[in-house]
């Protein structure tokens, strides 16, 4: 029986030693002798650690003291001076009287495991660094669309939002998006891509290209979904400028057709006036030519206004005249749709410095939006649009109010974004963007308040003398 234990002691794939109370090695197995050499009369700390004093943390000493089993992770140096990582357990050996006479120390080589652990940790650190520093927004979401992890860029732009719903943070809304790319990935395990306009915590609109990828358990089940969003706002802005230019060129080419017809008419009257010796007709034709050349000149300047960020062509204009002109232009259209158009203008609103054409375009755009909002609203029997003009010593303010379909929070937040339109195929997504640009070019701003199914109020505030205005708080609708 003793022989069997001795054989087992010798061949066990670990370093086994027996220590006396002085920590002298009194027995060691074959593997220990092979890697750490002869032990006769030597102390464990001399052989294991190549040192002359006891170790500060010695599990064998503790076992001698308390009679319990102890474990510790240690680094030994073998015969060739190589560091070996070991997990060491000490066990008391007692005599017949129960006294501890020696301690058995069993050390298992975990160098390979430690190496793999280090590699895994380094790899995790690298992935974590990549996750944190990658120049896009990354979140990890559970099945209920709770954000359970978010990278640094996301936290910076959208706040510390762990535990919040994705659509609350990204869209500032209380309901899930339809369709939801994250949910689709949970359902089919596939990568999904979608383009969205999201709102950062400072209110900035960000165009993002969203891609969702499943994260699976070892068994292959999807435990979460990673959503990566790349900021493509600059690309969209560039596209918008090109599209805007395209639309303006299309509109101008239509105008040019009319101008060419009028020029042709002028030439016809000039020529036929000369042929018939009709001076009156000749004069009339020549005036037509002159007038239409002037209109072409204006049209080219308009093209330049949209083609680049041109400074507004400022002149002192009466606010009432602009408001009345817009009202006159839009009244017929409102009547056509059966919508009442009320105008309430402060006749003492006075003059302000502005590009008359640009301000007219801005206001027409706002009234057209109001008409559309009323036109598509089937929930009310009568619709009303009110245009107001107010003046104070520093500013003029235009207000366009309607009791049309109104907007939800998401539509409100995205209303000034490029390419965003709530009018399906009827909108270009440029109108409010350009209106906002015109207001800003005048040192003013546009403020939008809206409630779904109740209506919308848009306020435009423009300084009398151009300088940048700061938005103020507004009373509710």
């Amino acid at each position: 029986m003793e022989l069997n234990y001795k054989q087992f002691f010798e061949v066990i794939p670990a370093y086994l030693t027996i220590l006396d109370r002085d920590l002298r090695i009194i027995e060691a197995n074959q593997r220990f002798r092979k890697d750490f050499g002869e032990f006769a009369g030597r102390f464990c700390y001399q052989i294991n650690r190549h040192r002359s004093e006891r170790c500060e943390q010695c599990p064998a000493e503790r076992t001698f003291r308390d009679g319990l089993r102890h474990g510790i992770e240690e680094q030994f140096k073998n015969l060739s001076g190589q560091e070996v990582s070991l997990i060491v357990y000490t066990t008391p050996i007692r005599n017949a009287a129960g006294e501890i006479t020696a301690v058995m120390k069993m050390a298992t080589d975990i160098t390979e495991i430690k190496l793999l652990q280090n590699q895994l940790r380094e790899s995790q650190e690298r992935y974590h660094q990549l996750f944190e520093e990658v120049p896009c927004y990354i979140t990890i979401q559970d099945r209920d669309l709770n954000i359970i992890e978010a990278n640094r860029r996301f936290r910076e732009d959208f706040g510390g939002v762990l535990g919040s719903k994705c659509y609350q943070v990204y869209m500032h809304r209380s309901e899930e998006c339809v369709p939801c790319a994250v949910k689709q990935t949970f359902q089919d395990g596939q990568v999904h891509q979608v383009e969205e306009v999201v709102t950062a915590r400072d209110g900035e609109q960000v165009n993002v290209l969203v891609s969702t990828t499943p994260i699976r358990h070892a068994e292959g089940l999807i435990k979460s979904v990673m959503e990566m969003s790349t900021n493509i706002t600059q690309i969209r802005q560039l596209q918008s400028q090109l599209t805007s230019l395209g639309l303006v060129i299309s509109s101008i080419s239509h105008g040019i057709k009319g101008l060419l017809t009028s020029l042709d008419g002028g030439i016809y009257l000039v020529n036929s006036g000369l042929e018939k010796n009709n001076t009156e007709r000749f004069k009339q034709g020549w005036q037509m030519v002159e007038r239409n050349i002037g209109r072409i000149r204006t049209m080219v300047l308009d093209l330049l206004y949209y083609a680049k960020d041109r400074e507004p062509d400022l002149e002192w204009i009466p606010a009432v005249a602009v408001a009345e002109e817009v009202c006159g232009i839009m009244r017929g259209k409102a009547r056509e749709y059966g919508i009442e158009l009320q105008c309430d203008f402060d006749q003492a609103a006075g003059n302000f410095q502005a590009d008359a054409k640009a301000i007219r375009s801005l206001l027409i755009n706002l009234v057209e939006n109001a008409l559309d909002a009323c036109r598509v609203d089937r929930k009310k029997s009568t619709h009303l649009i009110r245009i107001e003009l107010k003046g104070d010593p520093e500013c003029v303010g235009f207000e366009v109010w309607d009791n049309g379909i109104g907007m939800d929070q998401e539509t409100r937040e995205r209303a000034f974004s490029l390419f965003f339109s709530s009018k399906a195929g009827d909108g270009t997504g440029l109108g409010l963007f350009i209106s906002n640009k015109i207001a800003q070019a005048h040192g003013g701003w546009i403020h939008l308040e809206s409630e779904l199914n109740r209506g919308t109020r848009v306020t435009v505030k423009l300084p009398r003398i151009r300088h940048v205005l700061k938005p103020i708080s507004f009373k509710p609708l």
């Binding site: 105008g255 009319g258 060419l260 017809t261 008419g265 016809y268 009257l269 037509m288 017929g332 056509e336």
Partner: protein
């Protein structure tokens, strides 16, 4: 002696009204004018024209609405209408989306070819009446 054919010219551009009136009168037609669809309807009611040239984009009542009302009216639906416009998409969209409305008798894009409009007018005024 036959009386002159009467042509109603509908366009919001005064220059184009002046041009087409001069051109058509020089070629033996009597013309009268309207600046939008509303005024055009009053002119049709007051003096039944033999032909109408119609612009599409106009304030107040657009050319589309005027055209629809003309073609829906039993007394007026036989009056030939030549669309004269710079916008082609809007009108074509309107026609294709409303199959019950017959297509116009003539369609000309601005800028106008003088020979072409005169040929159209001549052909349509001799076949109508």
């Amino acid at each position: 002696m036959t009386s002159k054919k009467r042509i109603l010219i509908v366009d919001d551009e005064q220059d184009i009204l002046t041009y087409l009136s001069a051109l058509l009168e020089d070629n033996g037609y009597e013309t009268f004018q309207a600046k939008d669809g509303e005024e055009a309807l009053r002119q049709v009611e007051a003096a039944l024209p033999d032909l109408i040239t119609l612009d599409i984009s106009m304030p107040e009542k657009s050319g589309i609405k005027f055209y629809r009302e003309m073609k829906a009216n039993d007394r007026w639906k036989q009056i030939p209408i030549i669309i004269v416009t710079g916008i082609s998409e809007e009108f074509k969209k309107f026609i294709s989306s409303r199959h019950q409305v017959p297509p116009p008798e003539g369609y000309l894009s601005k800028p106008i070819n003088r020979e072409e409009i005169l040929q159209f007018v001549k052909k349509l005024t001799s076949s109508y009446c």
